[in-house]
């Protein structure tokens, strides 16, 4: 009797779990990959940034070009993130609530920036707004600069970041359903009241998560911005662009100093993301 039950237990264990060597093997590979592709680069950035000591690091960061680059990055994020969020919330609302022709087309279009290379995104704007572009002559006439100026950078950043909030909210709003909103309307609430009092509180964690990812991408975008910016020192260089420029001029401390700021931003984003996920789980458990 006992022998039989022990056998059963062994069989259950092998049926449900992988053998030890598989588990250890897979975990080791993951750790190795993470070390090679994440930890090593991050540590290298920090080591190189402080290679000539703290004062050199601080001096690079306080150079006017670096400061201008940081300001431009912040400005870009400050403009693109709210716009993307507004678009994302409206698109998610429309897609989750209504049936209409062209709905799947809209959803596909929202995913488009993910499948397009950022360099192509930048090129699109050059082709439209550049000096030889479609609107080039008209813009020149009215003395409006888009390409090789800040507006172009913002447009390019908007293109690559606009799916983030929408993609986060669409499945969330579909899952939550619209009964609470119908209830609010039946009680006499207006559309806006319903949105701020009912919809928004229900999606707040997903929204914050989407905004966070959007922000990280807006600050770190390179390819699309590189094509439209023109790399004009002190004027149209974002921080990622500035890192490239510094590196190409053999100013390694400067380059890595800038890179360490960006890396710091990435780590901060990761920490906040984990906190938000944890909060969301806590909320669900209630």
């Amino acid at each position: 009797m006992q022998a039989v039950s022990l056998n059963n237990r062994q069989q259950t264990q092998t049926a449900l779990n992988d053998p030890d060597w598989v588990r250890i093997g897979l975990v080791s590979i993951s750790v190795f990959v993470i070390t090679l592709f994440l930890l090593l680069p991050l540590t290298t950035v920090l080591i190189e940034a402080f290679a000539k000591g703290w004062s050199a690091f601080a001096a690079s960061l306080s150079q006017p070009d670096t400061l201008a680059a940081m300001r431009l990055t912040l400005l870009t994020a400050a403009i693109s993130v709210p716009l993307t969020t507004a678009f994302g919330v409206s698109a998610a609302w429309t897609i989750a609530r209504f049936e209409f022709r062209g709905k799947s087309l809209l959803v596909t279009l929202i995913d488009l920036p993910f499948s397009v290379s950022p360099v192509i995104a930048g090129l699109i704007y050059v082709l439209i707004f550049g000096a030889q572009g479609w609107l080039g002559p008209w813009l020149a006439e009215h003395d409006i600069k888009i390409i090789f100026a800040v507006p172009g950078i913002i447009l390019a950043t908007l293109f690559v970041t606009f799916p983030f909030v929408a993609r986060e909210l669409i499945p969330l709003m579909q899952e939550i359903g619209h009964e609470e909103e119908e209830a609010a309307l039946s009680l006499g609430a207006s559309g806006w009241q319903t949105f701020f009092k009912i919809t928004l509180p229900n999606i707040k964690w997903g929204l914050l998560y989407g905004v966070l990812l959007c922000n990280a991408r807006a600050m770190g975008e390179f390819g699309a911005v590189s094509v439209v910016s023109g790399h004009i020192r002190g004027l149209t260089n974002t921080l990622p662009l500035h890192v490239e420029v510094s590196y190409n001029e053999y100013d390694f401390v400067g380059a890595f100093a800038g890179a360490s700021v960006l890396a710091g931003l990435a780590v901060l984003t990761l920490i906040l993301k984990t906190l938000l996920e944890w909060q969301q789980q806590q909320q669900r458990k209630l």
Binding site: E179, E182, L185, S186, Q193, K197, L286
Partner: protein
């Protein structure tokens, strides 16, 4: 508030959900929209509410044509099947919501709101739950809070979408009676949707039976049960035995007491309690084998098997009170006499 529906039709793609519905509901009634799944009853309720738009036809509330009026201006209270309580607000805030979103001029003060909310909580006997969140409540409690919330804005019509569908049987029974009493107290015109005919019979003062988007019959519970106007209503409400005159049942039915020299239709529907079962067999009249019986509380349902398998109703169900059955003193497999007291005829 009286409700008039005029030529309401609604289609979802190729599916006709509602087909030219005309309905008149006077003020103060408690009406059940009853029918099988897919008959259009929820769609109709939502059109009355303003949550959906009919393709054709008009909705009148107290004489006003509200067909194009949005839900927030119709003065209706809606109770959803899954309650739709605001998950991030306390019970108190849920009920106060309708009062707090009123335009400034009509909005009561916080003290007045507090009074009103507590009065409603006492009405539904859940005052002690005022600071809990919806996910801390049981199903029955949630439903009562949802009702209190709908009543807070003093609607002229109360609409309930399968209000007890998601609850267990015993909670459902209690809440049904409770709703009926509440309606008597408040006297608000109420319409509720259900697929449970027992519920409709127990709670409503008027039942509207729907099938495939059309109204089959409208009447009081006893009218619907005792005088079904169509084959569908007769089958849907309560139990029925169905006999087709086309098959060779003439003699058998005649011997069972139904006079069919001039049949009033080709199908006879007989309710189980209209079948009399007796021990003494009379050779001139129909007899039948008693196969089995089931206890249904105060009545017994008898399962009777026809000898002739070519008949259309091989198993016939009869019902009688407990004491009568015990007095009969029969066993399984016995042959008993059968008489049909009354039948409804359909074509």
């Amino acid at each position: 508030m009286s409700i008039v529906l005029s030529n309401i039709s609604k289609q979802f793609g190729a599916f006709k959900a509602l087909d030219n519905i005309n309905l008149d509901i006077p003020e103060g009634e408690l009406v059940a929209l009853l029918g099988p799944s897919g008959c259009g009853k929820t769609t109709l309720l939502r059109i009355i509410a303003g949550l959906e738009q009919a393709d054709q036809g008009s909705v009148f509330l107290q004489g006003d044509n509200v067909t194009d009026r949005p839900i927030k201006n119709r003065q209706i209270g809606f109770v959803f099947q899954h309650y739709a309580l605001f998950r991030h607000m306390t019970v108190f805030d849920n009920i106060a919501f309708g009062l707090r979103v009123k335009p400034r001029k009509q909005r009561p003060s916080e003290t007045q709101i507090k009074e009103k909310v507590h009065a409603l909580l006492q009405l539904v006997q859940l005052d002690w739950l005022h600071d809990r969140f919806p996910d801390q409540l049981s199903g029955g409690q949630r439903q009562r809070i949802a009702l209190a919330r709908a009543l807070a804005v003093e609607p002229s019509v109360l609409l309930l979408d399968e209000p007890f569908g998601a609850l267990d049987a015993s909670v459902r029974k209690d809440l049904r009676l409770w709703l009926r009493h509440l309606h008597h107290e408040l006297n608000v015109t109420s319409i509720f949707v259900t697929h449970d005919q027992e519920e409709a019979m127990e709670v409503a003062s008027q039942i509207v039976v729907l099938n495939h988007g059309k109204i089959e019959q409208k009447g009081t519970p006893s009218e619907i049960y005792d005088q079904p106007q169509s084959d569908f209503v007769s089958r849907f409400i309560g139990q029925t035995n169905v006999f087709h005159l086309e098959s060779d049942e003439h003699q058998w039915l005649k011997n069972a007491g139904i006079i069919i020299d001039e049949p009033q239709g080709i199908v006879a529907h007989v309710r189980p309690h209209n079948i009399i079962v007796e021990k003494k067999i009379d050779p001139d009249y129909s007899s039948i084998i008693l196969k089995d019986w089931q206890h249904l509380g105060s009545t017994i349902r008898l399962e009777l098997n026809r000898d002739d398998p070519q008949g259309s109703a091989t198993t016939i169900y009869a019902e009688m009170p407990n004491e009568q059955f015990h007095a009969l003193d029969v066993n399984k497999g016995d042959r008993v006499a059968l008489r049909i007291k009354h039948a409804h005829w359909f074509n």
